[in-house]
């Protein structure tokens, strides 16, 4: 089986140096105004002198059941078997639904590009170009404190639980991303509540579950609805024909008091007698 890559981030080890972010910019030639990875979290918490610090580098979670992938009308997103959720710019129409769909607010858009240059979606790629040559992603590779590590998802989950078990006093007893949104490939350990790291509270069911279910019902519904409407139309037509074969039937809920007039084209006679001018 292919290795399902993932990251494990340990907030207790992160010193907020942002080497990971710079590494990403260089490795992926990210423009000055853009970033695939950014600082998240409260920073300093509490009141002097009872203080805490916490922050994390925030980037794509590489969800196991990505909402960006589910939402994109043209299928520009794709969860690879080896972990990364990748984007195919050649398909993208720039609708930005993926940005709205992503519960982690990850994809960015080229706001300052016209149609000639082409405006695309930007997000962390898991450095697939590095994975291909057997290197870990640039952000992970450079992290001076090993706050970020990389490996097989299952191994990292085990590692994360082992860290919690070894220091239950140090960590919140939860591995964020193990189950969130159906599981993600970015796993996070923390000493402060995850919301303090800027992470959203997430259910275990991927947020795309309901819309995907609805979408599954769409075609059957459309067919059924079309059949019903045709039936109704035909039925009413028949009824009307039966009732007054010479003239159109009264609408079922109609007032009934108005004698229907035959639809004569171009009669031009108005009920009140005024001649319509043409």
């Amino acid at each position: 089986m292919t290795k399902q890559h993932a990251y494990l981030f340990d907030a207790t080890r992160c010193i907020d140096c942002r080497a990971c972010m710079i590494a990403c910019s260089v490795e992926n030639n990210v423009e000055m105004g853009e970033s695939y990875i950014w600082l998240s979290g409260a920073g300093v918490m509490g009141e002097y002198p009872d203080l805490k610090r916490a922050s994390m580098p925030y980037h794509c979670m590489h969800c196991l059941e990505p909402d960006c992938e589910s939402a994109c009308p043209v299928g520009a997103w794709h969860k690879r078997e080896d972990g990364p959720v990748v984007y195919d710019a050649s398909k993208c129409i720039g609708c930005r639904y993926c940005m709205n769909a992503c519960p982690f607010q990850v994809p960015h858009f080229d706001w300052n590009k016209g149609i000639i240059e082409g405006a695309f979606i930007r997000k962390c790629t898991m450095c697939t170009q590095r994975l291909e040559v057997g290197q870990v992603p640039a952000c992970v590779h450079t992290c001076p404190t090993n706050a970020l590590v990389f490996g097989e998802r299952a191994d990292l989950i085990a590692e994360a639980h082992a860290r919690i078990a070894a220091h239950p006093d140090r960590y919140i007893n939860h591995v964020y991303g193990e189950f969130e949104n159906g599981g993600t490939s970015y796993l996070i350990l923390s000493h402060v509540p995850f919301t303090e790291l800027g992470l959203p509270e997430m259910p275990e069911t991927p947020v795309n579950a309901v819309s995907e279910a609805v979408m599954e019902g769409t075609i059957p519904f459309a067919l059924a609805w079309g059949t019903v409407l045709s039936g109704v139309a035909i039925g009413i037509n028949q009824m009307n024909k039966k009732k007054t074969p010479s003239s159109p039937a009264l609408p079922p809920r109609g007032e009934g008091s108005n004698p229907p007039l035959p639809p004569v084209e171009g009669s031009g006679v108005r009920e009140n007698g005024t001649e319509a001018t043409k």
Binding site: T12, R13, I15, D16, C17, R18, A19, M21, I22, A23, S25, V26, E27, N29, E31, M32, G33, S35, L39, V44, G46, E47, Y48, P49, L51, K52, R53, A54, A138, H141, T142, C143, P144, T145, N146, A147, H167
Partner: protein
């Protein structure tokens, strides 16, 4: 200068290096050389091992090159300073090399000094101008009228060679602004500049203002986090809740300048409760009895009043520390230039470690920067120097080693012509316009000079006030002498061709030496020849070193229990200090404190910047915080100030305007500024206009023993601008 779209700087690079008319050698084609050693393929793609120079830690780098451009830097796993990692500055090194503001041609001033008007010149002409002026000054006023200054770097041996051959005693280094207190204290106590620290198996760590999470020393920072992860307890002492404080089990927001009191009280508890390692103390130290006799006054209760840290806490930490010994480590700090009593603080920390017997476990003898295993080019003897040094070493500061010096005093004495007048200043890889406190005075000193020449990579503030700027090739474009570390000597080698006309320091110093008639002192044909001469005794070829990134050296066995002090032991009582009439055992000295309404002005590193050097780096700027002055939230609201207010900060010597950062992370009686902003040079288009300079506010105070500047001993008022 080149105008480049800021966005595209990464796409640029490797502007074809023009061969130069001047000099004996033309730089070898980097790609060709790398191809020969198999580091790159025929397309010029590959990875070349070299060393980072974004700060003085010098991590190993693997530079990824693509067709003559360097596209990514990764940490070299073979290098003990990087362990495969690079800090943010190391990662951003490309943006320094490809800085659109790089100086890529020798420049000669045409406007008024400080106006920033330069014309491009050939190397031939620029070097001739520098040499002519230096000779002129020597002729008219003697060699001592020429000041040389440089901050530690790998080519510094040749810088020192130049200055000694020229015959000037006046050598300015960054050290008195940085670590003089620590080095001199170590010399007095251990007879060595700085013992090595080992975090292996450490259980208890006290960091006194050593902000390792932000003032990064890559490998040490990583090791510290590993140690904490393994369960070591970190006690962090700093008036600020830094990122290191965020990793500590305990943060002691000490009143600035009272670290000495705290450590004296630690020692008091350890001695009075007999918690010291009696065996170790008896066998390896001198002066314990004198210390024991005088320490009684420094009770935790006494220290609590000085430091603001509760007596019970002090007592408990002393107990925990001694319990953990010898797996305990009280860190000396690095930039220990905080107060005039910092030297005594350093002594106290050193002694604290000795008392509990940490030696041999967390503290070890360290190898020096030079290795006997490497060769060097032959050199004639230097001329004898009779003139006094302007910085008062040793006539005023007898304990300050010559190569440390007292830079702020040098600057002050230039202004005072004491004991004589200086006329020229040759600066390399240094930014005294910002690093010396009281910037106004430094600019006045510049103004007094007949001639200033600077070797730098960008138009920093010092270059801006220079008459000639000599562009050095960046660290990714040049060779430097090998750097020995333990059993290896690491190489810095070019991974791309030097851009524009940039040249290595080895080349520049040799060229200058020749024009000064000192050619005999520079007996190397070119950089490769220099390295070959270094490697000669080892039998390793340069090709091999280039391909591997280092040369293996025969390792000398270091003796652990040996100290180069007069007594040969760890000197708790310093015989040297005693002879000179200074306090021979650490003794409390009351530091000055701010008046009511004033704040301590603190300074300290930011993980994204190095000193005064990197603010023009686009990648660092991209991820750095806005440079604002920190103030405690409660203090701010008491003073009617809110976040982001523009405030006027005034000290005895200067006044600046800067935006306020309201934070919980600082003592209510302190404010803090990241150093290095507030540039004067408009040649730094990215950095110019960002923040303000704390050097504008700093007052120069010199510790009389170590010569260290007291950077936290400036008091300021803050009001809404």
């Amino acid at each position: 200068m080149t105008t480049l779209s800021r966005r595209d700087f990464l796409k640029m690079g490797g502007a074809a290096a023009a061969a130069l008319a001047v000099g004996q050698f033309v730089p070898p084609s980097v790609a060709q050389a790398a191809l020969a050693t198999g580091q790159v393929n025929a397309q010029g793609d590959g990875e070349i091992a070299t060393m980072c120079e974004m700060c003085v830690w010098r991590c190993g780098v693997l530079a990824k090159v693509r067709g003559g451009k360097v596209v990514k830097l990764d940490g070299n796993p073979d290098h003990p300073h990087s362990n495969g990692k690079l800090c943010p500055r190391g990662q951003a090194g490309l943006a320094t090399t490809y800085d659109p503001d790089r100086v890529l041609s020798p420049l000669v001033r045409v406007g008024k000094r400080g106006e920033g008007k330069f014309r491009e010149a050939s190397w031939e002409e620029a070097l001739d101008i520098v040499a002519w002026n230096m000779l002129e000054i020597k002729k008219k006023y003697g060699p001592e009228a020429m000041v040389f200054s440089s901050t530690h770097n790998l080519s510094q041996v040749q810088f020192e060679n130049l200055l000694q051959a020229y015959g000037s005693p006046n050598y300015g280094t960054q050290r008195s602004l940085c670590f003089n207190a620590m080095i001199v204290a170590n010399l007095m106590t251990y007879g060595m500049e700085e013992p090595g620290r080992s975090y292996e198996g450490v259980k208890y760590i006290i960091l006194t203002g050593r902000n390792l999470a932000e003032a990064i020393s890559n490998s040490e920072t990583g090791t510290l986090i590993d140690a904490i992860d393994r369960g070591a307890k970190l006690v962090y002492i700093d008036p600020r809740f830094t990122k290191t404080a965020g990793k500590a089990a305990e943060w002691l927001p000490i009143r600035p300048g009272t670290d000495l009191a705290l450590h004296l009280a630690f020692i008091n508890v350890i001695i009075s409760e007999k918690r010291y390692n009696a065996e170790f103390v008896a066998q390896y130290t001198t002066g314990f009895d004198e210390l024991a006799a005088s320490i009684g006054q420094y009770t935790p209760e006494w220290a609590a009043e000085k430091t603001g840290i509760p007596a019970e806490t002090i007592r408990r930490i002393a107990q925990e520390f001694s319990d953990a010994a010898p797996n305990a480590l009280a860190h000396n700090g690095w930039r220990t230039s905080n107060f005039v009593n910092s030297f005594q603080t350093e002594r106290a920390i050193t002694i604290l470690n000795a008392l509990v017997g940490n030696w041999g476990v967390t503290h070890l003898p360290a190898g020096g920067e030079e290795s006997g295993a490497l060769g060097k080019p032959p050199q004639p003897g230097y001329p004898r120097i009779s003139a006094l040094r302007l910085d008062g070493v040793p006539w005023k500061y007898p304990f300050v080693p010559l190569k440390l010096g007292v830079f702020q005093e040098l600057r002050d004495n230039i202004l005072k012509d004491d004991p004589y007048q200086a006329h020229g200043w040759f600066i390399s890889r240094q930014n005294p316009a910002q690093s010396i406190p009281d910037r106004r005075k430094t600019l006045q000193a510049f103004a007094k000079m007949d001639f200033i020449a600077t070797v730098d990579v960008i138009m920093n503030d010092t270059s801006w006030f220079s008459d000639v700027v000599l562009p050095e090739a960046s660290y990714l474009e040049r060779y430097d002498p090998l750097m020995p570390m333990g059993a290896k000597a690491f190489i810095r080698q070019p991974v791309i061709e030097p851009q524009g006309q940039a040249k290595s320091a080895l080349w520049i110093f040799k060229q200058l030496g020749e024009r000064l008639g000192l050619g005999d002192y520079f007996q190397y044909a070119d950089e490769e020849d220099y390295l070959n001469q270094q490697l000669a005794p080892t039998g390793v070829s340069l090709e091999e070193v280039r391909a591997k990134g280092y040369a293996e050296l025969p390792e000398g066995e270091a003796e652990v229990y040996k100290w180069n002090t007069p007594s040969g032991k760890i000197e708790i009582k310093s015989s040297t200090l005693e002879k000179a009439g200074f306090a021979a055992i650490p003794t409390w000295e009351e530091p000055p404190a701010p008046k009511s309404g004033e704040f301590y002005l603190l300074t300290g590193k930011d993980a994204r910047q190095t000193q005064f050097a990197t603010h023009n780096n686009l990648l660092l700027k991209k991820y750095d915080d806005e440079p604002r002055i920190w103030m405690n939230a409660k203090t701010a609201s008491e003073n009617g100030l809110v976040d982001d207010d523009l405030v006027e900060v005034t000290s005895e010597v200067g006044k600046i305007k800067v935006h306020l950062e309201v934070t919980q992370a600082i003592r209510p009686d302190c404010v803090y500024m990241t150093p290095g902003f507030g540039h004067l040079s408009m040649g730094l288009t990215t950095a110019y206009g960002l923040g303000a300079s704390d050097s504008d506010l700093h007052i120069s105070y010199t510790d009389p023993i170590s010569g260290g500047q007291a950077l936290s001993q400036t008091f300021v008022t803050v009001r809404k601008a």
